[in-house]
């Protein structure tokens, strides 16, 4: 008995057989996902896959037609909503409102007393480098700064779960690095982070586990390491000078993805990377040869295209 209960309560968010349809289409179909506590989880999928609908159901903005959603071991409702911070992809703040007022307002909506919210504003603005903008109207800030304000508005109420849709978009490389660091800090503090992103590199660097959905259905999920291992060490990275057009025609090569400076060669099951190396070395000047796990990008593209072909 004990282990089952432990396992259940280990999930920060648990979706079981969730289905939601609108007048014209099914947005989410029989979706079951478990998001572990105190980890970074990536919810992936192409545009229109049903990510936003799923997030809205987790936030109890929409109710599922069938299935259940558990938040921290309780059914999703108004009370659980206060324990989640949500930053939607389409950012939303009041353009003419002063930054400090804005942050205090969103915090009071989550049940934080106004005075307490105002106390927290200073340290957070300091942390994202916007301390001197506290009394300014939002529309005086640059896009990137507004993005940071939006993030602070999400974390200020100190929720246990953070749902961030494209958290790094609009940030310059320095700010993006700082944001990554902040996200990892939050996880170390015991928060659960749910990221939705199309930047596979970001996902790969930050996420402990992922779920990939397409057209409302889950295609795969699990810890990133497991997902990659499941796809086997069947990818060869090759960098070279010369014309590599012949590579696609070699026996055992399933697919060649050209990244410009290098190519990723996906091998059919059972074929030998060494054979590729011999053939390539004979015809090209190689500067790099490596046998790797497939990238999340590759797994994503493959899963979605084969799902599309099957449908």
């Amino acid at each position: 008995m004990g282990p089952i209960i432990t396992q259940l309560s280990e999930s920060a968010i648990q979706l079981s057989g969730v289905t939601k349809s609108f007048a014209s289409h099914v947005a989410v179909s029989d979706l079951s996902v478990a998001i572990p506590r105190e980890s970074v989880f990536g919810l992936l999928g192409p545009n229109g896959a049903g990510k936003t609908t799923t997030l809205r159901m987790i936030m109890d903005i929409l109710g599922p037609d069938s299935g259940t959603i558990q938040i921290l071991g309780r059914p999703a409702d108004r009370a659980t909503r206060d324990r989640i911070g949500y930053m939607p992809e389409e950012r939303g703040l009041y353009p003419r409102m002063v930054v400090e007022e804005q942050l205090a307002f969103f915090a009071t909506l989550k049940g934080v007393p106004r005075s307490e919210a105002l106390r927290r504003v200073g340290p957070w603005l300091e942390r994202v480098g916007l301390a001197e903008w506290r009394k300014r109207r939002l529309n005086e800030l640059s896009k990137g700064m507004q993005q940071k304000v939006q993030f602070v508005a999400t974390v200020l109420p100190d929720p246990e779960i953070l749902i961030l849709d494209e958290p790094l978009s609009g940030l310059d490389p320095v700010a993006a690095d700082a944001m990554r660091q902040t996200l990892l800090d939050l996880r170390r503090q015991g928060k659960t982070l749910v990221l939705s992103s199309h930047q596979m590199e970001t996902v790969e660097r930050l996420c402990d586990s992922i779920a990939l959905i397409d057209r409302g259905r889950k295609l795969l999920d699990g810890p990133v390491r497991e997902v990659k291992a499941r796809h086997g060490k069947n990818t060869v990275v090759l960098a070279f000078d010369g014309d590599g057009a012949f590579l696609a025609g070699l026996p055992g090569v399933q697919r060649v993805i050209d990244f410009g400076r290098y190519v990723e060669i996906r091998l059919a099951e059972g074929s030998d990377p060494q054979a590729i190396l011999r053939e390539a070395a004979a015809r090209l000047r190689l500067s790099r040869f490596e046998i790797v796990e497939p990238s999340l990008h590759d797994i994503f593209v493959e899963a979605v295209t084969s799902h599309g072909a099957a449908a």
């Binding site: 903005i61 939607p88 939303g92 009041y94 409102m97 969103f106 009071t108």
Partner: protein, 416 residues
Amino acid sequence: MNRVYAVARREYLERVRSKAFLVSTILGPTLLASFMLAPILLARQRGRPLHVAILDASGALGGEVGQSLARRKVSGQERFVVEPRPAGTLEEARARLQERVVQGDLDGYLFLPRDALDRSAAEYYGKNVSNMMDLELMNKAVEEALVSRRLSSEGLDPQRVRSLTRAVDIKKVRLTARGAREDRGASFLLSLVLMMLLYTTLAVWGAAVMNGVIEEKTNRVVEVVVASLPASRLFAGKLLGVGAAGLTQFLIWAACLAAISAVGAAGIGDVGALPELSPLLLVAFVLFFLLGYFLYGSMYASIGAAVNTTQEAQSLVFPVMMPLILSVVFYPMVLSAPDSPLSVILSLVPFFAPLLMFLRMTAVSPPAWQVALSMLLMLATIAGITWAASRIYRVGILMYGKRPTFPEIIRWVGRS
């Protein structure tokens, strides 16, 4: 409840602190005051009297016309100063006068042709010939001189004829439970001003709610907000917050109006005919504003939720505006027969009541049960409308893309 308050608080403060609010709240009463007081002040001060000369070609009328002009008084002051005619022939004198008018040391001259008496004709040459009130006065002066001359030549005494044919001035007195008050059309004016004030504020603050909703949708703030509290609470907070801002403005205006009417009732000079606003009427004024606001504001809000831009809202706003506009169309009918069955029925219809029942209250004192009934009917309608509007709102705020049609919006009410 705290969160509804937080939403309302934000709405209220953001609006009341805005420049637009300050300008319209101060500018409104200023315009209103000048609109009501300007005629009074204008009547009292009309600048210095006009300096005119008389050029008489008939040779016999000049003196009498001059005396008649000199007799004209406005608020106890002479309006015309008659200057002597320059020496010389008629042509020389005319040239000299023309010169003086152009130079500006004379306002104008009156030319009486040779056959002025027969043709009842005269000509005025002036710097300014669009000062209607003064020219009207001049017309009257010349006319009086000519008529006196004709009467005398028939052997009649002009003084006596004038006193026998004096015009009638009917005094209008409005009887109320609190006694009689003389009225010279001011109470009609007051009814109209109060009703138009209700109309304007309802339309303006209704549109304010709608634009607020559209703005939140355009900025995508709404999704962040509904991730924290249910759409129905956001709707309630918004309606209350904007309403509080509207009420603030409305109270300032009503206070100004009460002040103006108190000053008017105290009697400024001879125009002391502005009726005073009874405290009861002021309370009703505020109540009808509030009821009207919740009725129309919630409908405006649901339209805001259904559309993506203000432009898209235009065509949907019309059906909502319709009853307000109709109220204004009906007002002359209601005001001319405030107690007719039709007026009573119209003023009980919840969508017309904010304007028409109040209008009746300014004109007559409708039975208390009618006022109470109209308010009850409005409250019931408001309960229904806000319920439906908040359901439309809930669906609409998360919808982007094609603007829904009216029937589609109505269907949202039933959606789970």
